[in-house]
Symmetry: C2
Subunit: 520 residues, 2 copies
């Protein structure tokens, strides 16, 4: 057995059986090892941003890591943007990154670079395995890192001589961390007392995020809010929210700074559940950096490391809310007919609320035009909603690939701004190659609209040629129907909400990848 | 004047007047500054790999750096792969990378990352400018770094508060390094004596690379070879070679290991000119890491830091070769009619030799199918030939963008493998947006053919499903005509050499971007 075979066997031993890959020459022994073990499903991405973004989406739905296979430093760097998003989503991923044979690194061949240095900023854990014999134990350590709660980015660097060398130790057992710290009862009691004794409970809010966005947790939160009158908010962008009719749909803190400050203006006490203190996405001259009032206090019920569901359950009990019907429950909107006319965020949201099928997965990278979508979708059939957690655009299409691989029987609907979609457009090919059941909706506003808004907010009354050329995607328009066709995907273009609703219904009723270009 | 305006003024002062850009919110003050100074030409790339690759191609032809504008750590990471290639090409680039306001970094907003850590592996010089007042001096330092010989990657990180803050110092003068070290006369004499006294001069070779691939240098080398009988080789991949009829066309060391060892087998003395000791691209079990025989000696006539042209001129004189007609001069091949039938590397090379227009720029990322192209092109009209220096695929399309921006009156012909082209396919849109005079030829072999060869060389007789799925680009085929149309470029598909020659002639006779998909 060589080092590569020992690694693949250890991955399978650790229940890692999907590998998103874009290999190169230095990874050929690893490719041969993957080839000899067909239980590992290998999925090619034509660019590394597809590979790492798919691993992120996969984790969010499968709740276990995938492996990635990347070619040396240059392959890794092209995957870093989506590793950044995955790290911010607390997704677990095991990156296998090829490296030159150890004795060849100092010779500075053209593809040589500081792989550990490249990996560190977007990884929680980085290790170069030094020989074929250490490879399986190092692989097990990477799996244990990635499968913990929260998930972590583990990057294992594999020199070619460790990949091809003889491994006498064989595959290694994996012992994932399973215990998740629980919040102590003092903290529960203190928080219960604060809420219970508050003169005005509406000035207290629970801020939920991370794993606390799953139904069990949100339901406890909904009961607490209903029982006590405290408010609920969720972080601006969550890795995965379970939402829709019959579920607790917690309003999000908006992305733009001023509305977020306004929303939290009256909060005296912010109780964090599975997330951190909310901060401004960007700093602006003379504006606050934190979203809650300076005078307010922050208390952590459960950090991202803790068992948020258990903490909410205990808090619910301490507040005698266990049998209170929850607040914020999503309901069908019977008055809402399908909207008509020019597409906007409101209209798209109403179409989604009406058309999304039960148990679907929505991947949301709609950016500016997406701001009203989640609140409308609260009246849609129950679904999962995935968002861009790290702000690095290009997460959506690959994430849809990974989510669909994790749940082949669920429809995935990916709603992506045109600017974002271009970053990882190669994902369309993997959707076609793997016959993934994904409907991609491209919101074609033909600009980096969010930036036009930012420039206007700075007081730039009328942008000149240089600004216009950097913020618009016009001249020429991107033709998404042709782009999709070029990648092997059937597509259609629509320019009003009626046509959009029909196209979405049709593509959802069919099986396999489809693309709808919606002109905004 | 704010920090951003002082930076842009300093860039213009330093003769940096092209900015390849993909900005975000944190760069909006810089965008406004660019907008206020229309002398700076701003060119949008829809992905950062386009931006940095274009800056590389621009430098190779303009012989001066461009600026790039990148959005925080995630924007920088997506540009790193082509910064790796640019670094290996010794191209000078000035990256301006946005950063959060300094007081906001510790708040760990979603887009926060270790930007200096990210920049370092692919930069020669990294600095965070701490205030608006230090911005112009830091910009001048970045320009001085990038404009030296050889060019360097200078990354200037610009916190938002330095970008928007008041700058009282104003623009800064730039003092680029101009003196390039010359080889001392002892070294010249020693090398001249070695060549002159050699029992068999054909066992001595000059290995040229880097800036020594320009006509003046290669002509001196050709005279030395003609006069003395020593041999000439050039590095496997050069940033820019001036080649074609009437010029000295130096044979390249081949990329595959075995033929490169074979080529250098009889060399006793290797004299380096503008390059380093040649190493294997990859290590293989039981094979040498260096390309020349172990017993051979290596002598440096000029390092990448030195004035190679001057050194060759002096060596030429010391060997009394100044008036010897040079060897290795490219000549038209009158017997060579246009080839017919199925496309292969030989046939494509013959078409190029016949059709390439004088003074064109060829961007070669043809990988496996490109191995015979340079030797055929030696009989083409005089041209520049640009290659992938760092092995990180996806360099070609962006590099063509940059080369065309640098030389709008010259035809650029980019010959790109389909696997490579997909990495930075967004470049096509920038070609259309800027109406660049580029003909893109996609060599569609529908696989990572180089990797199939590597796997076969390992003894894998018949790849299984996992290997096939990772190395082939079939199922579905990429449809490059549709992909090009989607990006706003007219395209056609051809599947034999006659049609290819006609399509290439036609697109060269027209103005503006065109794409030809050549089925291999």
């Amino acid at each position: 057995m060589n080092g590569s075979e020992a690694i693949v066997q250890t991955l399978l031993e650790g229940n890692i059986d999907v590998c998103f890959a874009n290999p190169g020459t230095s990874e050929m022994h690893f490719v041969a090892a993957l080839d000899s073990m067909p239980k590992m499903r290998c999925i090619l991405g034509l660019f590394e941003g597809v590979v790492t973004g798919a691993a992120d989406g996969y984790y969010r739905i499968a709740e276990k890591p995938a492996a990635t296979l990347l070619h040396l430093g240059p392959g890794l760097v092209s995957g870093l943007a989506n590793l950044h998003n995955a790290k911010r989503a607390n997704s677990g991923i095991i990156n296998i990154v090829g490296q030159h044979a150890l004795d060849h690194i100092e010779n500075d061949a053209p593809l040589t670079s500081d792989i550990e240095g490249i990996a560190r900023p977007m990884s929680h854990w980085v290790r170069t395995t030094m020989t074929a014999n250490t490879a399986p134990a190092d692989t097990a350590a990477a799996i244990e890192q990635a499968t913990g709660t929260p998930g972590r980015i583990a990057t294992l660097i594999l020199p070619a001589d460790a990949a091809w060398g003889t491994c006498t130790t064989g595959k290694y057992s994996v012992h994932p961390q399973t215990a998740i710290p629980k919040t102590d009862s003092n903290t529960i009691d203190t928080i219960a007392r604060i809420i219970h004794e508050a003169a005005d409970p509406s000035r207290i809010a629970l801020l939920l995020g991370g794993r606390a966005m799953r139904t069990k947790s949100t339901e406890f939160a909904g009961r607490i809010a209903a029982r006590t009158g405290c408010r609920l908010f969720s972080e601006t962008k969550s890795a995965r929210c379970e939402r829709g009719q019959g579920r607790v749909n917690i309003p999000k803190i908006p992305y733009p700074l001023d509305p977020s400050l306004e929303l939290l203006r009256d909060i005296d006490t912010l109780i964090l559940v599975g997330t951190s203190k909310p901060v401004a996405f960007f700093a602006y001259p003379g504006k606050p950096r934190f979203l809650q009032p300076i005078r307010s206090q922050t208390i952590t019920l459960a950090s991202i490391w803790d068992d948020a569901e258990n903490a909410l359950s205990e808090l619910c009990e301490a507040l005698n809310a266990t049998h209170t019907p929850p607040a914020y429950v999503g309901q069908a909107n019977p008055q809402s007919g399908l909207p008509t006319g020019q597409a906007d965020s409101d209209g798209i949201g109403r179409v989604l609320a009406s058309v999304l099928p039960e148990n679907c997965i929505v991947v949301d990278e709609a950016i500016t035009n997406g701001r009203l979508l989640p609140q409308h979708a609260a009246s849609a059939a129950p679904h999962d909603w995935l968002e861009i957690t790290g702000g690095s655009i290009g997460y959506g299409l690959p994430s849809a690939v990974g989510a669909s691989v994790a749940a082949p029987d669920r429809k995935v609907v990916a709603i992506i701004g045109d600017g974002s979609a271009m970053y990882t457009v190669q994902s369309l090919w993997t959707m076609a190659r793997e016959s993934l059941d994904i409907t991609v909706v491209i919101l074609a506003n033909r600009s980096y609209k969010i930036l036009n808004g930012e420039l206007a907010a700075m007081g730039a009354v009328s942008p000149g040629p240089n600004a216009r050329r950097m913020l618009s995607l016009e001249a020429p328009f991107l033709d998404w129907v042709s782009i999709a066709k070029g990648h092997g995907i059937h597509a259609q273009r629509v320019d009003n909400l009626e046509s959009f609703a029909n196209a979405l219904k049709q593509s959802i009723s069919e099986q396999g990848p489809r693309l709808i270009e919606l002109i905004m």
